[in-house]
Symmetry: C2
Subunit: 230 residues, 2 copies
Amino acid sequence: MQGMNGKTMIVLLSGGLDSMVCAGLAREAGAHIVALTVDYNQRHRVELQSAARIAEAVGAVEHIVLPLDLTRFGGSALTADIDVPKDGLADKVPITYVPARNLIFLSLTLGLAEARQAQDIVIGVNALDYSGYPDCRPDFIAGFEALARLATRDGDKGVEFSIHAPLQYMTKADIAAEAARLGMDAAMSWSCYDPTPDGQHCGLCDSCRLRRKGFADAGIADPTRYAVGA
Amino acid sequence: MQGMNGKTMIVLLSGGLDSMVCAGLAREAGAHIVALTVDYNQRHRVELQSAARIAEAVGAVEHIVLPLDLTRFGGSALTADIDVPKDGLADKVPITYVPARNLIFLSLTLGLAEARQAQDIVIGVNALDYSGYPDCRPDFIAGFEALARLATRDGDKGVEFSIHAPLQYMTKADIAAEAARLGMDAAMSWSCYDPTPDGQHCGLCDSCRLRRKGFADAGIADPTRYAVGA
């Protein structure tokens, strides 16, 4: 990302490795960072602590942690009493998919962007090393960007909103390397869907597997403590 | 709306006259109604009581009142400490516009639809007697419907989501008449953006003006108590 000097960017900050790198890229680009974290009562709410650490580390001018209790809807292992799969990545969309989550979250960032008179939004979606969630794919992001114009007063006035997805075509190894290049401590971030009672990454969920493989493939030391070894 | 017999419909239920009529049309069509009301900490939170009354009146199988504090974003007279205009409808989008609200709310209904295995969503947007909000227009609704396929697992599997907007081309008088035809008591509903301390409609905000004119044009007795007369 370039040319953001002094411009306000809304960073969708879950607290995971991907959103951490997005926040770092926004800082590198010179943006004024307004970070939005949604507390959707997710199973791994511990990631909210990571989001707070990252927002502080990148010097966010504002960090909104917005409660939105998606357990009222359910339908996902992250928002209902359903076990998180531990036996490796599958071909189909896994039960950790949260219905329409990225659409809901991007819509919130768009409302926040309009309220802050910002035109730029950053989201850490990735279409390579991911779980096959439909709302991480490039055509969804492009479709949302097009709809943003119709959905807003500012778009109606000709303001173009840009949805930046700088990790879209990166592997998890690329992302781990990018974190290192940016001088960010990956230990600030949280990936695990199903933390152990004593606050470790489980090591077996899709998100842990992708994270671990990313560091290994990049040849970078993984600062994460996993409850179960590789 | 027709052919909904026994199908689940998600009704976006603010508690206003328009959403009341949508709920009545869903009931008339034979749908199983799952109502979603967003408590966005709006100035006129009293409308939540109306939503509860309406949900009960139409026999909703489920009514979710979801807190989502949009005052954290601000940027609107409904979600920030900004006066509600009282001097009549203007040509431009008024300050009561809430940034990206309908996109945020429709995204939530889509997540709920997917979690409940429903394909039909009803929203009471209107493009005739309205305040000029961009996210009430037909091209926005059509754009959202198209994006719903890309945004969801079910859409990815070929499930088509339908966004029903049965009031789209009705005047407010048509809507008042429709409420009467459905045998619904309009006094259940709430329209005013800026309720008086003793809980009356102010009579002067855009929403009150549209409501009052609708009943007058339809030649139907208006059950609403307005603080300021016509």
